[in-house]
């Protein structure tokens, strides 16, 4: 995959994830209307299924709940969250780790500003805004909605521990995330991930609450010999599972997407500086600092960083579990790939 394919694929994925997000909320809202509020859908026998609070005992009263309020509200919320993720996602990511604008009067931060400018020139893009995260563990991430609206944040520890060339390598890596629209996908995922875990929390709570209330009415429904259709039961089960598992699934998605992109960002970052060795030695320094980056505690931002801020050893491992949950490919492999580039050996990963 080269950067043009990566760019196209990132834009596609961003749209796909937004669509999936809307579909998820539509499903949640409809489910709420049908299973909790007792709305009837033609062709689907939902009698006796669900957590109905307001179900009328008279099946002819189909119009008792004519407007799907749940669906409307949930779609409005989803739309709001989407717009928020587009216009406010980067600011949220930066705020969540306490980042502030780099200050040109501080020599180390001036160097960061200069290096960001240099890499913007090398990539032929407008310069992103540079931010500093007050944390002594070396780490960095990029966010924004595209090259014209991009932010690169580096921790104080990164500025202190790396020399100029190594910093250049790291910023070049972040710059390539900006250049191929990784930032757009990542930022949208980060913002939506937060929203989904909130909503899912709410739904699973209300499901538990509703379950207690409606158990009586359900048993009375059965005693009248009106069991629900099999299809409705299945959909109801899927609805509950979706609501509860959503944060889990969306996290796995975020991890998979981000891990995939790191090799490419390493390689095209090296293309910008023409100095893969510098990024390799920067990664070695970052790897040696095993302490977690405390300022970056939000799960939504973890997958955007150059190295996992949680400081777990997970990213060093291989295998199914690591493949599922690690945000980044093993550091060793990344460093090896860069060193091979420095010796001009062809390498296929």
């Amino acid at each position: 995959m080269n950067i043009y394919e990566a760019e196209a694929s990132n834009k596609r994925w961003t749209v796909a994830i937004m669509a999936a997000f809307l579909a998820f909320f539509l499903f949640l809202g409809l489910g709420f209307d049908v299973f909790v509020m007792g709305m009837r859908i033609p062709g689907l026998d939902t009698e006796g299924v669900g957590l109905s609070l307001y179900r009328s005992s008279n099946p002819d009263e189909a119009s008792s709940y004519p407007i799907p309020y749940g669906t409307i509200v949930s779609l409005m919320i989803a739309g709001g969250l989407l717009l928020n993720s587009i216009y406010n996602g980067a600011a949220m990511a930066l705020a969540s780790c306490g980042a502030r604008k780099a200050d040109p009067s501080n020599p180390a931060e001036k160097q960061l500003l200069d290096v960001v400018d240099e890499m913007a020139i090398a990539a032929g893009l407008p310069a992103p805004q540079a931010y500093v995260i007050p944390d002594d563990d070396p780490n960095a991430f990029a966010t924004g909605f595209g090259p014209r609206n991009a932010y690169i944040a580096a921790t104080r520890g990164l500025l202190a521990q790396l020399n100029r060339e190594e910093l250049q390598g790291v910023i070049a890596h972040e710059m390539s995330h900006v250049r191929n629209y990784d930032v757009r996908l990542m930022t949208v995922i980060a913002a939506l991930l937060g929203a989904i875990s909130l909503v899912s929390d709410f739904t699973s709570r209300s499901a538990r609450f509703g379950g207690r209330v409606s158990s009586g009415s359900r048993s009375s429904g059965r005693s009248e010999g009106k069991g629900g259709g099999g299809l409705a039961v299945i959909i109801f089960i899927i609805w509950i599972i979706c609501a509860i598992l959503a944060p889990f699934i969306s996290r796995i998605l975020a991890m998979a997407v981000s891990r995939h992109r790191e090799y490419l960002a390493d390689a095209s970052g090296a293309e910008l500086t023409r100095n893969p060795q510098a990024l390799a030695s920067a990664l070695e320094k970052i790897r040696a600092a095993v302490a977690p980056t405390r300022a970056i505690s939000s799960d939504g931002v973890a997958h955007m960083c150059i190295d996992d801020p949680r400081g777990t050893a997970l990213n060093e491992r291989h295998g199914f579990f690591a493949d599922l949950f690690a945000t980044h490919p093993p550091m060793q492999k990344r460093i090896l790939a860069l060193k091979l580039m420095a010796y001009n050996k062809p390498v296929n990963i």
Binding site: K110, D114, D117, M119, G124
Partner: protein, 191 residues
């Protein structure tokens, strides 16, 4: 039927010529813009050098030869820049980079300079400008190469020769004699 076929062929040919021509125009402007970006950084460097010389000259008075060479290389680069000839520019700019590099290396011997905040920030500024120049050149060379390839491949070369408004873009190169110069720093630059 035959006439319709001929018309279709002509239309397709015209569409192809137009698309190649337009993409060449786009690339030509990108190349020109890339060149201007280098120019911006070069001008910045010309402005910074006198400041640096002024602030280090008191401390480095025993290095007057090196300082002299930087000043001289700068003025030659400025006059080469005015001509806009890429080959001449890259030669003179290369010499200026070399002279500056020597000055930087020598300044390492002066702890007072290293402790001086204004000198330090000037050095950072110049280092960054040097880097920006080389990255701007790298970017320029990349897009200029793309432009040249687009002109030279078959069958685009027919269109290029048809219009004659597209010329091969010159690339920035490290001057051939730069290496000798590094090995023999006593070369006389007083043209």
């Amino acid at each position: 039927m035959i006439i319709a076929g001929i018309i279709a062929a002509v239309v397709i040919l015209a569409i192809w010529v137009i698309s190649v021509y337009n993409s060449l125009v786009g690339l030509r402007n990108q190349v020109a813009n890339g060149f201007r970006q280098i120019d911006v950084q070069l001008k910045r460097r010309y402005d910074l050098i006198p400041n640096l010389i002024n602030s280090v000259k008191g401390e480095m008075k025993f290095e007057s030869q090196t300082l002299e060479r930087v000043i001289q290389a700068r003025s030659m680069a400025v006059s080469a820049n005015a001509t806009g000839n890429v080959a001449d520019m890259s030669k003179k700019e290369g010499e200026l980079s070399m002279a500056l590099g020597r000055l930087f290396a020598l300044s390492e011997n002066y702890p007072n300079l290293k402790a001086n905040d204004s000198v330090k920030s000037l050095m950072e500024e110049l280092t960054s400008t040097e880097n920006k120049i080389s990255f701007a050149r790298q970017f320029y060379n990349d897009i200029a190469t793309g432009y040249n390839i687009k002109q030279q491949v078959f069958p685009n070369n027919f269109i290029v020769s048809m219009f004659g408004s597209f010329k091969t873009a010159d690339l920035f190169e490290i001057p051939q004699d730069a290496k000798q110069e590094r090995e023999a720093p006593k070369v006389d630059l007083g043209v």
